[in-house]
């Protein structure tokens, strides 16, 4: 009798312990959930702020004037709020970046996944990662003091600030990203496909171009889109090297201004907050955010589709 009642008491204390344990467990879980929800809060905050602040701007300037106007002079009278010159500058940078970084990045990835031995790979990959880890302001300096003088030696008409040298350094900057993402997708292609190619007598080059690259095409596209969205959001290198002259031009050797460089220019300047000229940076940011978000979502979708095929 005695022993059973003490057993009951013990049972009870175990139960109580269990309950307090479960309670603290719930508390911890809630705290951790709060941590995770900060990311959602961040997204909502970004969207909300951009809508609110850009809304103030669009109360005074019609959306169509902003999106389709071809003159950007928001700080000087007579003012004009056509964002196209900034968009044009950004596109110029992105096209130049793409011309350099996409082929070079893909070829690097092909070399790493199809040709290089694992030793060479283990040397090459970390070096490329170093290239990716260098701060963007360093690339801006490099463009300004090395690439531009080099270009001017070849072709003296090049202006001190120009889109070409900025897109070269932005290309160098996103090259490791393209290479590493493409490398991952190329390596995900099953070996049986390659062996099928060799079995019908194709050379390694023919297998790579005819079999491996086409079967990982959606993955490659996804990494291209992701890398270019990075190029659009790139700020310091283009601010330093591409100039501060909003310009509707396709000439890569003259000064232009990108959307990001404009935002930096205004926040460094002495335009008073709350004034319409200041409010433009929120409208430009909203546009920037929408463009990069669309590209990222698209790229993630492509990547998921690629994974569904092979994994």
């Amino acid at each position: 009798m005695q022993s059973s009642s003490s057993g009951l008491a013990e049972n009870k204390s175990v139960l109580r312990l269990g309950r307090s344990k479960r309670w603290s467990e719930e508390c911890i879980k809630a705290v951790l959930f709060l941590c995770a929800s900060i990311s959602v809060l961040t997204t909502f905050a970004i969207v909300w702020i951009l809508i609110r602040e850009a809304g103030i701007f669009f109360q005074e300037v019609p959306v169509s004037d902003f999106l389709f106007g071809t003159l950007w002079a928001p700080l000087l009278e007579p003012r004009s709020f056509g964002v196209l010159p900034l968009v044009c500058g950004t596109i110029l940078i992105v096209v130049g970046t793409a011309l350099f970084a996409l082929p070079v990045g893909l070829a690097t990835a092909i070399y790493m996944s199809e040709y290089a031995s694992s030793t060479i790979r283990s040397i090459l990959k970390p070096i490329l990662e170093v290239l990716a880890g260098i701060p963007t302001v360093v690339y801006g300096y490099f463009a300004l003091t090395f690439i531009t003088p080099l270009l001017r030696e070849i072709y003296p008409e090049v202006q001190i600030f120009n889109a070409a040298s900025a897109s070269i350094v932005v290309g160098i900057m996103i090259l490791p990203m393209v290479a590493s993402l493409c490398d991952d997708t190329l390596r995900a292609v099953p070996d049986s496909l390659r062996q099928g190619g060799y079995a019908v007598g194709a050379t390694q080059c023919e297998v790579t171009i005819g079999v491996v690259v086409p079967s990982s095409l959606s993955g490659i596209m996804a990494s291209f889109v992701l890398a270019l969205s990075r190029a659009i959001g790139e700020t310091m290198a283009v601010t330093l090297a591409a100039g501060a002259t909003p310009n509707m031009t396709l000439d890569p050797f003259v000064a232009i201004q990108t959307m990001t460089a404009y935002i930096v220019q205004v926040s460094l300047g002495d335009t008073p907050a709350g004034e319409i000229g200041y409010q433009t940076i929120f409208a430009v940011s909203a546009l920037l955010f929408i463009i990069t978000l669309c590209m990222n979502v698209f790229s993630n979708k492509l990547l998921r589709r690629f994974r569904e095929v092979y994994e």
């Binding site: 941590c35 970004i46 690097t108 880890g133 260098i134 302001v137 310091m236």
Partner: protein, 286 residues
């Protein structure tokens, strides 16, 4: 005819191999040129005076004391804020969350946040931390902005490290009656720690080099004092470099190069630290 065709195909294969090979090493070559150029320009300016003087209008007297201290303050507070939150979020998503709509949404959300341009985070910091919280252009406002920026990186790498921990460890702990949190805190997290740490250092390295968000929140470009607390104004290394690089005079460009050397040295130091700690922990495990 057929053999000539075959010869051509072999030739093309060789050319293609050669092309990929040389292009792959192009990146390495560029890195070499960049480092050589920066060293050649900046090294002569690098002396104790450069490290201990405040910035100045006269290149010969200018130094990076305030920028160096600013960066240290900024990174310390960024780490204090972002590391616990990032690990917490990673642990929640990997170990606690059920696979439901909400988790999927948070997941997708983090993936997209990682792609948002850093300057947009600067906007966020400007409106929320600087204006609403009234933090002005303080170290704290900068650190909070940077924390939001690097959180996705920390969360993603934490999750990857946790995923690499074998499930048998969890099952063994559960079998002994441990709760989920006991399992995670005493067994899974320590096992994943080298991976988590690498992610954190990578993220903090990114924060050290970021310039745009700090310019957005209004961090000053000329500071002739050292911050003494989280509420003080500050400048940071990349801002000082940007400031010097954007001036027309050649001397300031060389000062920028010297600043870059210091910045790259700090980054190198952090990354070697990560490698060493990782190595030690992995050795101890064996």
């Amino acid at each position: 005819m057929i053999s000539r065709n075959l010869k051509n195909r072999y030739l093309i294969a060789k050319i293609f191999h050669g092309f990929c090979f040389s292009v792959a090493w192009l990146g390495v070559l560029i890195l070499g040129i960049l480092l050589f150029h920066v060293t050649r320009e900046g090294f002569p300016w690098l002396d104790m005076q450069f490290l201990t003087e405040f910035p100045s209008r006269f290149p010969a007297k200018a130094g990076i004391k305030s920028a160096l201290y600013g960066t240290l303050w900024l990174i310390s507070f960024t780490a204090l804020i972002s590391v616990p939150i990032g690990i917490g979020a990673g642990v929640y998503l990997e170990e606690f969350a059920k696979k439901n709509r909400l988790t999927q949404f948070i997941d997708l959300n983090i993936a997209n946040l990682a792609g948002v341009p850093s300057i947009v985070y600067g906007m966020l910091g400007l409106v929320i931390f600087v204006r609403w919280f009234g933090l002005e252009q303080s170290v704290l406002a900068g650190s909070m902005t940077m924390s939001l920026l690097i959180l996705p990186v920390i969360i993603i790498s934490t999750r990857e490290a946790l995923r690499a921990v074998p499930n048998t460890i969890r099952q063994a702990a559960f079998a002994l009656g441990a709760t989920r949190w006991q399992t995670v805190s005493a067994h899974v997290l320590p096992a994943a720690f080298p991976g988590v740490l690498t992610g954190i250092i990578l993220a903090l390295s990114r924060a050290i080099g970021e310039t745009a968000p700090l310019i957005m929140i209004g961090a000053l470009t000329y500071v002739a004092f050292v911050p003494e607390g989280p509420m003080d104004d500050f400048t940071a290394l990349p801002i000082q470099i940007f400031n010097w690089a954007s001036r027309p005079q050649k001397e300031f460009h060389e000062l920028a190069a010297a600043g870059i050397l210091v910045l790259l040295f700090v980054l190198l130091l952090m990354n070697s630290l990560a490698v060493i700690i990782r190595h030690r922990l992995e050795k101890r495990k064996q």
